[in-house]
């Protein structure tokens, strides 16, 4: 039964247009046109979810398929959720207002660990049986993908299968398989579909694996760690390798994305110029799991940009990637785009800047309004620490970048740092304050006057799977708090603003980032006791999470603060992004002595393993043109 959300409910909630759809570019297929329906589910509010490029791509690719209807659903904000529960209204899609329970698939994206409680909440609101093992024939298949899929284990109880890697091709294969299976009358029920879908490369069915834990310490690996992850049948692969699109120039990209009525977080055209980043920052999950670098051709990008502007009416286009300034043909591309769109009053923007004067020069060119500050991410304050993380940036680089910014009229810079990095000392923390002072000094040197505004934004480091720091113990809460205060005292400088994050959320993020499937119980308990919107500090309850973890018989420190031994088997190692363990370990060892590793894009191969494992190669148009 479809119940409509009534006027009096919509008129009493915040931003009701979040729930009513009908945006330009949304695709509504009739029941007759639909053989398979999938709800792309973003576990956060509309404004956040609508800004996610991955779903714009999948929405487009899936709806291009005859018989496939891809729709959207988002987490209702707490005021709306209360009304929905009060009036027994199920969570629906925005396109056909169909309850999630009536879809064939509900596909979640795993953007950050703290959104997991929202996934459970959306399943519940959508009328779907919570545990995968208890789902019946009438339930949809609950699937998930995205960056956190490289350790999907904490969600193993709730997700029927995961899509590992880039979804453009594999999602279509899954839809086609489902159409066949449905046409055949769904023989042998949902368990048979799982047995068929697991044969598609990049599909991980967690219920097909058994995890065995060490009942006693094994040399330096403590009790409770993983002994072995074994497939339970002969069809489940021992290792699930990620899927990638080998050449981005050959696949479709959305040039008619949905244009929302209300303002969303990234309210502009997002043009993806390349995937992957090989700079090799040792803390960076994205830099490791999205390899190799594959660029789109400048000609392709210009064509996509033109079509996107014409189709959407947006007046801003953002060139997105993990490190936009590294695009091999960036300067000519920007020139061409600015020239092409001048009469259309379209501006071009860059989401991030590299720390050099080249980037500042580009920023000057693209930024029409120069009131806002420039943002740089040195990540660490001392040279020693930047070498540990392989940032490859010197203080000189930063000074020349901010010098160029100041010379071009900026007077406000924002600097991003992390604290709690491996091997960090108090001197490294205090070096952040010194760097802020040096930046202010540079302003005086360049402009002859004082008063440069510097914002220092500091987050706490969380070790992530498939990075060289996956072996590292996360700093304890007390240690992070101490370091935050140490820096706060050192940053009592005129015109310097210090921003730092709530340290407790990093603890839970850390637990789930490197967690195993036993954490499913803790997640379930925390959700039952009200956890939702954990990424929003006003909704995050540390006490609730601590209690849920301990009630599940688990110890947060086992996951977060414990330093791992070289030989420990990790919960995520049967899901592979193509980076070799030996490479990661070697990078970790090099970090201890501050030894740098170069970027393979313009230099020697560093031996990470991605290209040979994935049978792919770096695509870089400057070197291709030579």
């Amino acid at each position: 039964m479809r119940k409509k959300i009534s006027l009096d409910i919509l008129s009493t909630v915040e931003k009701p247009a979040r729930y009513t759809g009908m945006e330009f570019g949304s695709i509504i297929k009739t029941q007759e046109e639909t053989e398979v329906a999938i709800a792309l589910a973003f576990p956060d509010i509309y404004e956040v979810g609508m800004s996610y490029l991955g779903f714009k791509i999948l929405y487009h690719i899936l709806n291009l398929q005859a018989g496939v209807a891809a729709e959207r659903t988002y987490a209702p904000w707490v005021d709306m959720e209360a009304k929905m529960r009060e009036h027994a209204l199920p969570l629906t899609s925005l396109e056909t207002m169909k309850p999630l329970q009536e879809f064939d698939f509900v596909g979640f994206t795993l953007q950050y660990e703290l959104s997991y409680s929202n996934i459970l909440n959306m399943l519940d609101l959508g009328g779907i049986t919570m545990l995968a093992a208890e789902r019946g024939e009438e339930d949809p298949f609950i699937i998930a993908g995205g960056p956190c899929v490289f350790n999907p284990e904490p969600l193993a109880d709730f997700i029927d299968f995961f899509i590992v890697g880039e979804g453009e091709e594999v999602m279509v294969e899954v839809m086609n398989l489902y159409k066949e299976w449905k046409k055949a009358g769904k023989p042998d029920g949902r368990s048979e579909f799982l047995r068929q879908v697991v044969k598609i490369s990049g599909i991980y069915v967690p219920s097909f694996y058994e995890v065995e834990y060490l009942s006693a310490a094994n040399k330096d690996v403590p009790m409770g760690c993983i002994k072995e992850v074994k497939p339970l049948n002969e069809i489940a692969p021992a290792i699930v390798q990620k899927r990638i699109v080998k050449d981005l120039n050959t696949i479709d990209f959305p040039t008619k994305p949905i244009v929302p009525y209300g303002e969303i977080v990234h309210d502009r055209i997002m043009l993806e110029i390349f995937r992957g980043c090989s700079r090799g920052c040792r803390f960076c999950h994205a830099g490791m799991v999205y390899r190799p670098v594959r660029e789109r051709k400048p000609e392709v990008l210009k064509e996509l940009a033109r079509r996107s502007i014409d189709n959407t009416g947006y007046n801003e286009i953002s060139l997105v990637s993990l490190s936009t300034a590294d695009y091999s043909c960036l300067e000519p591309l920007i020139h061409d785009l600015i020239g092409e769109f001048k009469d259309d009053k379209v501006s071009v923007s860059l989401p991030s800047l590299r720390i050099d004067s080249f980037s500042v020069g580009l920023a000057k060119e693209v930024q029409a309004v120069r009131k806002s500050g420039l943002t740089f991410a040195p990540e660490a304050g001392s040279q020693r620490m930047r070498d540990v993380i392989n940032k490859g940036v010197t203080e000189e680089d930063l000074m020349s970048a901010v010098g160029a910014a100041f010379a071009n009229g900026w007077s406000h810079v924002k600097l991003y740092f992390m604290i709690g990095l491996p091997g960090e000392t108090d001197e490294d923390i205090l070096a952040i304050a010194n760097l802020a002072k040096a930046v202010q000094g540079k302003y005086k040197e360049v402009t002859g006057k004082g008063g440069a505004k510097v914002t220092v934004s500091v987050s706490s480091f969380v070790p992530k799977p498939y990075t060289p720091f996956q072996w590292v113990g996360q700093n304890s809460l007390a240690e992070i708090n101490r370091k935050q205060m140490l820096l706060k005292d050192a940053l009592k400088i005129k015109n310097v603003t210090y921003q730092y994050h709530d340290s407790v959320t990093s603890v839970i993020e850390g637990v789930f980032a490197r967690g195993d499937r036993r954490l499913g119980k803790a997640l379930y308990l925390a959700w039952q006791r009200g956890a939702k919107f954990d990424g929003w500090s006003e909704h995050f309850s540390y006490e609730n999470w601590l209690k849920a973890i301990s009630d599940a018989g688990l110890d947060k420190d086992f996951y977060a603060t414990r330093e791992r031994a070289q030989g420990e088997v990790f919960p995520w190692e049967h899901i592979q992004p193509g980076i070799s363990r030996a490479f990661l370990w070697n990078e970790y060892q090099k970090s201890k002595s501050g030894e740098l590793t170069g970027d393979c894009r313009n230099g020697d191969c560093v031996g990470c393993g991605a290209c040979p494992t994935l049978e792919a190669k770096i695509i870089d148009w400057k070197s291709n043109a030579l």
Partner: protein
């Protein structure tokens, strides 16, 4: 040359705010490649305006829009482009071109008509009669951004008559509301007045309100259309 249009705001998008509605139209016009005039300066914006802001939650058959153009257009072709460029929930009902010297819509608009359907527990045509015959009805109107402050207004200066029809526990109301350079009233405000001062038992939050017309008035006070009806729509 200015393009005037009468467009709708339909049920599905009634909760889109005035600002969001404006942005949506702006983008649709860009998609339709209309030769729109832009303001000069650092942050150029499109020269277009709506005659009168519509409250969030209210549908409309008669939003009036005025756009300054940099060159002459052929109305029929433009409207075809625009029809394709508009999202579900906005349709063009009439369009017209006027010369640039025509006074602005916003300065010419003098009144709006509303049609309301609201659940009601009893027939209250008598109560409506007392509103209609009252010489004076006062209302404490909240001052925008006034932090709870209000100012007293005379309702009868804006709304003189309300006609009602009661069927199946549903009250249908029709009324006209004046729009003056110094202010107007919201449809929901009238509903609150009927509920609070005239004991009409309605749940204001459940009211389905539609603006049915926006117009100027002539010297005799009679309705005068602000837009010509083009026969090809």
């Amino acid at each position: 040359m200015k393009l005037r249009m009468q467009i709708t705001k339909e049920n599905g998008i009634r909760f889109v705010s005035h600002l969001e509605y404006m942005r949506t139209i702006e983008r649709a016009m860009r998609r339709a490649k209309l030769p729109i005039a832009y303001s000069k300066g650092f942050n150029p914006h499109m020269k277009f305006s709506l005659a009168s802001a519509l409250g969030v939650g209210i549908t409309s058959q008669a939003e009036l829009l005025e756009i300054e153009l940099v060159k002459d257009i052929e109305l029929k072709a433009v409207l075809q482009n625009l029809a394709e460029a508009l999202p579900l929930g906005i349709h063009v009902k009439a369009a017209d071109v006027v010369d640039s010297k025509t006074p602005k819509l916003m300065a010419s608009v003098a009144g709006a008509d509303y049609y309301v359907q609201v659940p009601c527990t009893k027939d209250c045509l008598e109560q409506l009669h007392s509103f209609n015959t009252a010489a004076s009805v006062l209302f404490q109107k909240p001052i925008p951004k006034g932090r709870g402050k209000t100012k007293e207004i005379e309702v009868k200066k804006f709304i003189t008559q309300v006609t009602g029809n009661f069927i199946n526990n549903n009250l249908e109301l029709k009324f006209s509301c004046k729009i003056t350079p110094t202010g107007s009233m919201k449809a929901t405000e009238l509903l609150k007045i009927l509920r609070d001062q005239f004991a009409v038992p309605i749940v204001v939050e459940q009211a389905d309100i539609e603006r049915t017309d926006l117009y100027a008035v002539n010297a005799k006070g009679a309705k005068k259309a602000l837009i010509g009806k083009s026969n090809f729509i």
